[in-house]
């Protein structure tokens, strides 16, 4: 234990002015509400990046899925009546949403979920949930 009087002996008036300047506030505050970093550290960032790559690959395979013969054949304007054309447009929009699903999931989770463990778990869930089965089954 250091005697407090020794500490006093090593300090002078004006010491505070000589202390190292405080670091400026970071431009991006990545602290979660409980004080931990919201990014979750280097390994978590690496996993988020890898899962982003998985989302891109899945999107590419969903594009391929949409053009598989049997899947594409189920999307037709029929005889071209107004009702059939409307149904075709709605189903086409559905296909576009299906193709966008992996990237939409990734962007929404990566940007909106702050807790690193929850973010990783949800990204993993999305990667598993959105496996492009039509392309895989057609290739098998």
């Amino acid at each position: 234990m250091t005697d407090p009087s020794d500490e006093d002996a090593l300090s002078w008036d004006g010491d505070d002015a000589l202390a190292a300047p405080r670091r400026p506030a970071p431009l991006i505050d990545d602290r979660a509400e409980d004080g931990r970093t919201a990014s979750g550290g280097g390994f978590a960032l690496l996993l988020v990046g890898v899962l982003g790559g998985v989302a891109v690959i899945e999107t590419a395979f969903w594009i391929r899925s949409a053009f598989e013969t049997q899947i594409a054949a189920s999307l037709t304007p029929g005889a071209g009546t107004p009702v059939e054309v409307l149904a075709f447009v709605l189903n086409l929009a559905g296909r576009v949403l299906a193709i966008a699903a992996p990237l939409v999931w990734y962007v929404v989770v990566a940007l909106r979920v702050r807790l690193p463990s929850r973010r990783l778990a949800l990204l993993l869930l999305g990667a598993l949930l959105l496996v492009p089965w039509p392309a895989i089954l057609a290739a098998a």
Binding site: S65, E68, Q70, I71, A101, W105, L129, V131, P132, W133
Partner: protein, 110 residues
């Protein structure tokens, strides 16, 4: 904290608009089920249990998707709720395509 009436109306409107999209998807799945039942009957056969599960699952996907998005987004603001419903619609569309591909695989058409 309960959602005030003034803030409830736009949320109900958004949920109802998305219900149309999810409903259209469920309608397609029901049409699919009825068409395949008709085809099986015309061929003098019946749908297998696996085919039933997959076709009924196709109806359940949009229903579960819409309800899940509403449950998760029930205490959120309008924009996050709309975002959740959009995400659920995307996932629902993808899962429906997977379900249809699995069904085609089961009946040997894929």
């Amino acid at each position: 904290m309960p959602v005030r009436r003034g803030r409830l109306a736009p949320r109900v409107l958004v949920a109802a608009l998305f219900l149309l999209a999810f409903g259209w998807q469920a309608f397609g799945a029901i049409s699919n089920l009825l068409a395949w039942i008709g085809l099986a009957t015309a061929a003098g056969g019946q749908l297998t249990a696996t085919a039933w599960i997959l076709l009924v699952g196709g109806i359940a996907i949009p229903v579960v998707g819409w309800i899940a998005a509403l449950v998760v987004g029930r205490r959120r603001a309008l924009l996050p709720l709309a975002l959740l419903l959009l995400l659920a619609l995307c996932v629902s569309e993808a899962l429906s395509l997977s379900q249809y591909a699995l069904f085609l695989g089961v009946i040997g058409a894929l």
